[in-house]
């Protein structure tokens, strides 16, 4: 579904992405893992067209995305830190996004209800806590039934209950055959969701394996431990 | 004494009795004006009916009244001077004179009066005449309620509307003059009055005034003439309650005063002129209760002016109030109202407590570098002006009104 071919990106002297190639398919839930500054977010932003790569190509459903914008209607994106116009209420933000995306399908408001956002519709964005803003971001990412979900550090600001509800939702979507791309550094969160792992370090893609392969290679049952082992190996 | 009085009465009766009326027109014996005039004796009235008369040059050399009924037209066919008067006591009224000849050599006119006195020219319309009414060497004559419309577009090919040369005791009232070179032209004219005339849209000056002493002009309107009004080389002129309006251009002045002394200017209105008054070599002029409104410069006063007193004038909405070319100040500003004054009046005597300096720094700069006008009202020039107000360096130190009024003078 998404094919990344030889993508490189340089920010000044920093090589953020170094000749990355990989592909992501339907029905997968991929964890994008790596230490801070390894290029996870940059890669996601490349896929979303927010960062334009210096070289290489990105295709979405077989179409090159450079210069294209319509493909983004098939992506639900939840940013690391969501910021919305201060003076708008939650209701207005939801309406605005609906208005902008003008979806053809019925809205998926599961998370809106699950997070009780529908009870806060009149609250102004600037009065909200970080966690509530994250909930809004999450709800927005899922709202338009996208084929691809890109979630950047999704559970960072969520309380445990919300986090749990959220994971259930991700699972459900994955079951529907959607592609879910998650970056996270709280590894334990992802254990029971993830089907594949992309590990990045200093802008390079170290490996892209299925969870089974990873377990086999490292001999660890739990994802946290296997990743820790990989990290340790790469530090040496 | 009694004898003398009865003599005069007898003479008067004799004259009025002998005054006959000679009628001219298609229905009368005299078909042409010329025939009428020829038939008339001194003191007669030649009464001309409506019609279009092509009489070439009509010469009047007897004391008659030439009177038009329903404004008969006298046509000069663009070749001739229409009426030439060579004797005193002539009256011309009620005609429409059109198309005089054009000749700068002979100054062809609608009506030319030479060496005569007690001539009255009234209620005529003059159109497309080279000179309009031309008086040379005249005296005690009256030019009243005539309308003069020149049609020439260039200065060289046009003459003056009312032209007086070497005359005295003239009375020029309620005429309107447009499209001529100078609206009213005075050269060597003494003791005369110019009253309630309107000179507008003339090619050069609305009023051109030279070597003429002891004259006054009152209640006239001078509007949008090529160069405004020019008063030069004259003494003891009274200029009262006139309107000088919309005289636009670099060399156009509401009024240009050059080598004038002992004049009085009071109650005049200067509106929307590029320069309302330009003064050069003017001495002992008293200017009171004039209004300067919306002019580019209200007053341009050259350093060679002396003892000009400006008192109780209103300066409102002018771009620059006063401009000058030097630092010498021998003139007095007192009790004027300046709308740009920003001082205060603590003792409530309606007179500002700090002096007002009407010359702004920027007007001095513009005087030297006219192009700088393009930067007028920019932030930087406002800053310069404010600095100059605190520390005068370029503007003349003594040019100030020590007692500026807080409210309009009238």
């Amino acid at each position: 579904m998404i094919i990344v071919k030889n993508i490189s990106k340089q920010f000044g002297k920093l090589k953020a992405l170094n000749n990355i190639s990989t592909s992501c398919n339907k029905g997968e839930c991929i964890a994008l893992i790596g230490p801070n500054g390894s290029g996870k977010t940059t890669l996601i932003k490349c896929i979303l067209g927010m960062v334009l790569p210096d070289s290489g190509t990105l295709t979405f459903n077989g179409k090159d995305i450079s210069g294209d914008w319509q493909y983004r209607s098939k992506i639900g994106y939840m940013p690391q830190i969501g910021r919305y116009p201060d003076n708008m209420s939650i209701g207005q933000v939801l309406n605005m996004m609906t208005d902008i995306r003008s979806p053809e399908t019925v809205l998926d408001e599961d998370l809106v209800r699950a997070f009780s956002i529908d009870k806060l519709l009149d609250k102004r964005m600037r009065t909200l806590s970080g966690g509530t803003v994250q909930k809004v971001s999450a709800a927005l990412a899922f709202m338009f039934n996208p084929e691809v979900l890109i979630l950047d550090e999704p559970t960072a600001g969520l309380d445990p209950i919300a986090s749990e509800l959220f994971k259930e939702k991700i699972l459900a979507e994955k079951e529907k055959g959607k592609l879910v791309l998650i970056t996270s550094h709280i590894l334990s969160d992802l254990d029971d969701l993830v089907s594949r792992v992309i590990y990045m370090q200093e802008g390079s893609l170290i490996f892209h394996k299925s969870i089974e392969e990873l377990r086999r290679d490292t001999g660890e049952e739990r994802l946290v431990k296997s990743i820790a082992q990989v990290m340790a190996m790469n530090y040496e | 004494m009694k004898y003398l009085a009865s003599m005069i009465v007898a003479l008067f009766i004799a004259v009025s009795v002998s005054a006959g009326i000679i009628r001219v027109g298609s229905k009368h014996t005299h078909k042409t004006v010329r025939a009428g005039i020829n038939a008339a004796a001194a003191g007669d009235t030649v009464s001309v009916d409506q019609g279009h008369y092509r009489e070439r040059n009509l010469v009047i050399n007897k004391r008659i009244t030439l009177k038009g009924n329903n404004r008969p037209i006298l046509d000069g066919e663009s070749k001739y001077e229409i009426i030439s008067v060579f004797t005193s006591g002539v009256t011309i009224e009620g005609f429409k004179l059109i198309h005089s000849g054009v000749s700068s050599l002979e100054d062809l006119s609608g009506i030319k009066v030479s060496n005569s006195s007690h001539v009255t020219i009234r209620n005529n319309i003059l159109e497309d005449t080279f000179f309009g009414i031309y008086i040379q060497n005249g005296s005690n004559s009256r030019i009243i309620n005539n309308q003069l419309r020149g049609t020439s577009l260039e200065e060289q090919r046009s003459g003056n509307g009312i032209h007086c040369w070497k005359s005295e005791n003239m009375h020029i009232a309620r005429n309107s003059i447009s499209g001529h070179r100078d609206g009213i032209y005075f050269e060597f004219v003494k003791n005369s009055v110019i009253l309630k005339n309107t000179a507008a849209n003339n090619l050069r000056y609305g009023l051109h005034f030279m070597f003429s002493n002891d004259d006054s002009y009152l209640d006239n309107v001078f509007r949008n003439n090529g160069s405004g009004v020019s008063v030069m080389y004259s003494k003891r002129i009274k200029m009262l309650s006139n309107h000088f309006e919309e005289n636009w251009g670099d060399a156009a002045y509401g009024i240009l005063l050059k080598e004038i002394s002992d004049g009085t200017m009071e109650g005049n209105y200067f509106t929307k002129n590029t320069s309302a008054i330009y003064m050069e070599g003017a001495n002992r002029i008293s200017m009171k209760q004039n209004t300067f409104k919306d002019n580019g410069w209200a007053l341009k006063i050259q350093a060679n002016c002396m003892d000009v007193v400006l008192e109780r004038n209103n300066f409102i909405g002018n771009t620059f109030d006063v401009g000058t070319n030097g630092s010498l100040v021998l003139n007095t500003f007192r009790n004027n109202y300046w709308d740009k004054y920003e001082g205060y009046d603590l003792n409530k005597d309606k007179i500002g407590d700090i002096p007002f300096r009407p010359v702004s720094m920027y007007s001095v700069i513009v005087e030297k570098f006219p192009v700088a006008m393009i930067l007028f009202r920019t932030f930087i020039t406002t800053l310069l002006d404010k600095t100059e107000k605190i520390l005068p360096s370029l503007t003349p130190e003594n040019l100030k009104d020590n007692e500026p009024l807080m409210h309009r003078a009238f």
């Binding site: 319509q70 708008m88 | 006008m373």
Partner: protein, 255 residues
């Protein structure tokens, strides 16, 4: 695109600063007109507001708005929207809100007290200046991610257009006073939108003084139909050029 414009405008119109700006304009306009005994003097005070305050507020407000909405812009970019339409929407939103603020704050009092050619020219000038300085602000804001640097650049730009440029011109004028500068000055004035609008207002406000020789050259140029077309074209160029450049930059910008 219209949708985004709508949201940008609603967002800005709820902003306290823009409301304060409108009230400030309204208060100063009403004060100058009611305090001065003649309204042409009021217009003069307003002229300074138009030439100094309007560009300042427009450029600073727009710059800060763009930086503060960085994340919101990111969010929009991640949505199925054309980058060009996002950027143009932000411009349109800012420009129309600031123009509206100017119109309510200064335009309406001017119409009440001075509904003539001068007033009309002033309203148009203020509106155009608002839009031009939004365009300039966007161009400078798209260059750097650093908010402090961006605001600094905005203040410098304002200082340049409202003060330094004229100082430079004045200096040139003194240096080359022996040459006929009238015509070059027309060209130079096109390099600064504030100067251009000021001259257009001057031709109405100080028409008598502008009829002097030098002024007449300007009047002959700007007062005629081709001159007016030239001025309008230049002013539009001052909007279009920065917007075109900043859109180009924004399209290839990493967020």
């Amino acid at each position: 695109m219209n949708k985004i414009v709508k949201y940008v405008i609603t967002d800005i119109l709820r902003n306290r600063i823009i409301i304060i700006y409108t009230l400030f304009l309204l208060a100063s306009a009403l004060t100058v007109f009611s305090l001065e005994d003649n309204s042409s003097k009021g217009l003069l005070s307003l002229l300074n507001i138009i030439l100094i305050v309007v560009p300042l507020v427009s450029i600073i407000f727009s710059t800060i708005y763009v930086y503060n909405s960085a994340e919101f812009i990111e969010l929009l970019v991640s949505q199925p929207l054309r980058r060009k339409s996002i950027w143009l929407s932000i411009f349109t939103g800012l420009a129309s809100s600031l123009a509206l603020a100017f119109f309510i704050g200064a335009g309406i009092p001017i119409l009440l007290y001075q509904a003539n050619m001068i007033g009309l020219t002033m309203i148009l000038s203020g509106t155009v200046l608002s839009v031009i300085f939004v365009a300039i602000a966007l161009l400078s804001a798209v260059q750097t991610r650093d908010k402090a640097k961006g605001i600094g650049a905005a203040i410098m730009l304002w200082l340049y257009f409202s003060l330094l440029f004229d100082g430079l011109v004045l200096f040139l004028l003194f240096q080359f006073s022996d040459y006929p500068l009238e015509k070059p000055m027309i060209g130079i004035s096109a390099l600064n939108p504030i100067d251009l609008t000021r001259i257009l207002i001057l031709l109405q406000l100080d028409v008598s003084a502008m009829m002097g020789y030098t002024g007449a050259v300007f009047k002959d140029f700007f007062g005629t139909y081709p001159g007016l077309v030239f001025s309008c074209a230049v002013l539009l160029l001052w909007i279009a050029l920065p917007i075109w450049l900043s859109t180009k930059k924004f399209k290839s910008k990493d967020l």
